[in-house]
């Protein structure tokens, strides 16, 4: 079936199998491999992307379901080679270890900070509760997002 999805401002149209997952459309059809495939069951959040402005788990969605929508992946979360405040803060604080969960965490945290000016630690933990990190124990990540929230957008 024919599917057209706008990814990071660019339209990608393709004739796909209905069973194609959104995450594989992004990785294989659009060639954007920053979105990771982790648990494949909707638990880990490595595959998080923004769908029409809200973070979703792209391994639990068919590309067909996203037909006609606008997706932002980790490649499109900031302009060019620059980093947004969440990326900067995670990087400067060395908050991540292996980094596999990073794309999902950056997407979710950036969306959350855009709509919450002064979050506390509990709110950040709740916001990130769909993104699993098996390295850090979360404290450095939460600290970095808290630090990012205090910086100008």
């Amino acid at each position: 079936m024919k599917v057209k999805i706008n990814v990071n401002g660019e339209d990608f149209a393709s004739d796909v199998e209905p069973r194609l997952l959104l995450v594989d459309f992004l990785r294989d059809t659009a060639g954007l491999t920053g979105t990771h495939v982790g648990c494949e069951t909707g638990s880990c959040g490595s595959c998080t992307v923004l769908l029409d402005g809200r973070p979703v788990k792209s391994c639990l969605m068919l590309a067909a379901q996203a037909d006609g929508s606008r997706i932002i992946t980790i490649e499109g979360i900031s302009k060019g080679e620059s980093m947004n405040r969440v990326q900067k803060s995670l990087s400067e604080s060395k908050a991540l270890q292996c980094g596999f969960c990073a794309p999902g965490i950056v997407i979710t945290a950036s969306w959350f900070l855009d709509k919450n000016e002064n979050p506390d630690e509990g709110e950040i933990r709740e916001a990130l509760s769909g993104n699993i990190c098996r390295c850090t124990g979360y404290q450095p990540v939460v600290d970095a997002v808290l630090k990012a929230s205090k910086e100008v957008k």
Binding site: P18, R19, S43, P55, L60, M61, L62, Q65, N131
Partner: protein
């Protein structure tokens, strides 16, 4: 790699088109958000001749409040309930239940109808809708029917929804002033099936119970279950009444020893959380 099997997929433009598709293909899988259906396809837990995507049908969208009554379309996303500004104890109870679903990302994907129609005993909305006395508007190609949600659940993952039917909307009245509400979900690990979740709504006037509704969900009861409390109405809100209700809730426990814990543990959790619910709803009257 977990991948769905080859599927036939249709995204009808209207509800009536969706209903005639279902009528022609009785072994279809209805998909709205995809969180349950895509996962079930991946795990080969369902075998569908056709996947009918109803997630975008405008007939199934929107939260309306008219003449003291809410209409919630079945394709409304869980986050829309969680972020909706309606006040009043009834909607606040539903909002708390909606905010307890999965995680923020899953709430952006999953729909109210999916949460209700899956029949998963651990889902958050069913106990809340049971105490709200919600009416389900169900449609097929030939017409519509209304049924109370208390007649909907037949067993774990089993509902009275026929193969050619779609849940159109959920309707309930706002109970209004003076009511207090409670919702709590107890789980072992995040995203696991809950051990027990309890929803309660009640009103106490002059020390007497004017209305009291409780429903229990979770793996310990297998099916979202209302607790009979009508005998307590009119009685003084006392610790004695409270223990009788707690006892009748724990009798609903179909607990067995499993990886969630021992039968005794689960029974205790039902008792404890029902007690928390009653203390919260009866409030200062006790």
């Amino acid at each position: 790699m977990l991948y769905p099997p080859q599927i036939n997929y249709e995204r009808p433009e209207s509800l009536s088109e969706a209903l005639s598709l279902l009528n022609d293909h009785p072994w279809s899988l209805i998909m709205a958000g995809g969180t349950i259906s895509v996962l079930s396809l991946k795990k080969r837990a369902v075998n569908a001749e056709l996947v009918v995507d109803i997630g975008r049908l405008h007939e199934l969208k929107g939260i309306d409040f008219r003449d003291g009554r809410y209409r919630i379309g079945s394709a409304v996303k869980i986050y829309e309930i969680a972020e909706s500004g309606f006040e009043g104890p009834g909607f606040s109870l539903l909002r708390q239940a909606a905010s307890s679903v999965g995680d923020p990302l899953l709430r952006n994907m999953g729909t109210v109808g999916g949460n209700v129609c899956l029949g998963d005993p651990s889902n958050d909305l069913p106990p809340a809708l049971l105490v709200l006395g919600a009416e389900l508007n169900v449609v097929n190609h030939a017409g519509a029917r209304n049924l109370n949600i208390s007649d909907f659940y037949k067993g774990p993952f089993r509902t009275s929804l026929a193969k050619n039917e779609i849940l159109d909307s959920i309707n309930f009245s706002e109970p209004g002033k003076g009511y207090r509400w409670f919702y709590y979900k107890h789980y072992i690990r995040h995203l696991d099936h809950s051990v027990v979740n309890v929803a309660a709504l009640g009103k106490v006037i002059g020390g007497r119970i004017a209305d009291l509704r409780i429903a229990v969900g979770g793996m310990s009861v297998r099916v979202p279950t209302p607790i009979e409390t009508s005998w307590a109405v009119g009685k003084h809100a006392s610790h004695e009444e409270l223990s009788r209700i707690v006892k009748s809730a724990s009798e609903k426990c179909l607990c067995t020893d499993d990886r969630q814990g021992s039968a005794e543990y689960k029974k205790r959790m039902i008792e404890k959380i029902t007690q928390m619910a009653l203390l919260s709803v009866m409030g200062d009257a006790l």
